[in-house]
Subunit: 161 residues, 2 copies
């Protein structure tokens, strides 16, 4: 299969300068501000985005180490398959975060619930639309037994550096 | 900014052989079966995935034409910014679909609600976890006025070929 080449469309600036201590998901980053610096050539693509309260960002885990097919995720203490986890040491290191959209001015998009590292290369922005994106009546596998983890207060250590 | 190179981890087989007529989202693909053919080297990464009922697939829109910064989305009749749409003619043509996981046998993952074209290169599989992935109290911008569109019965035409 052919390799696929992407060009970042911008950079995400956040307060998180080290993997260690970074919120593991937007839910653990309540109130954390960040700013997307979009490459100016993409400004026309932002038209009509400001009416959305939430946007899904796809980005590159640029500081994460060599992929592993089994990892011990932050939400557990044993090895799990990488595709059964959201951990960043994936074969293709693409991150996905749905964050709050605060404002857009020219090429600067202010966000909240920023859970990615400072300097993260951004690949795509998609509007969050609950009718398409939410799911109900879901089975959650190994996460079921860990549903009492304090997920809104979980921060990374350096296991995926 | 540096280019980012990804290697597909597999291929998605579906009944959709032409863009025209393909469901525009999983919600419009109820009962539509598909199968992921994962490259065998990634089989260890599937450990523990079978307990999840829904998985989020990231993939490459391999048949979609040159990106455009404004498009007329299927859900509307006027031009919208590409980042305010889920339309496929994006600067980085990454698709995102949360589908039902039916079964896993060796490197074959059967899915339902398949809304992507046959032969689609797969980039990543993430488990769907409602506590992280669902959002409530969301504003949906231009989609608000179109909330009476029959979204569970919408199929693509050839505008993004």
């Amino acid at each position: 299969m052919e390799q696929i080449l992407f060009n970042p469309i911008g950079i995400i600036h956040t307060p998180h300068t080290d993997i260690k201590g970074t919120p593991i998901q937007p839910i653990a980053a309540a109130g954390v501000r960040g700013a997307i610096e979009l490459l100016p050539e993409y400004i026309p693509g932002l038209k009509d985005l400001e009416g959305f309260s939430h946007i899904t960002l796809l980005y590159y885990f640029h500081k994460v180490g060599t992929p592993q097919l089994e990892v011990t995720p932050f939400m557990d203490t044993v090895l799990r398959g990488i595709f059964a986890c959201k951990a960043p040491k994936r074969p293709n290191k693409i991150g996905l975060s749905t964050v709050r959209l605060i404002s857009i001015e020219k090429n600067i998009i202010k966000i909240e619930e920023a859970d990615m590292l400072d300097g993260t290369p951004l690949l795509d922005i998609k509007p969050f639309y609950p009718k398409y994106d939410n799911r109900e009546h879901v089975k959650i596998g190994w996460l079921e037994k860990n549903s009492d983890f304090p997920i809104d207060k979980m921060y990374a250590d350096d296991r995926f550096r």
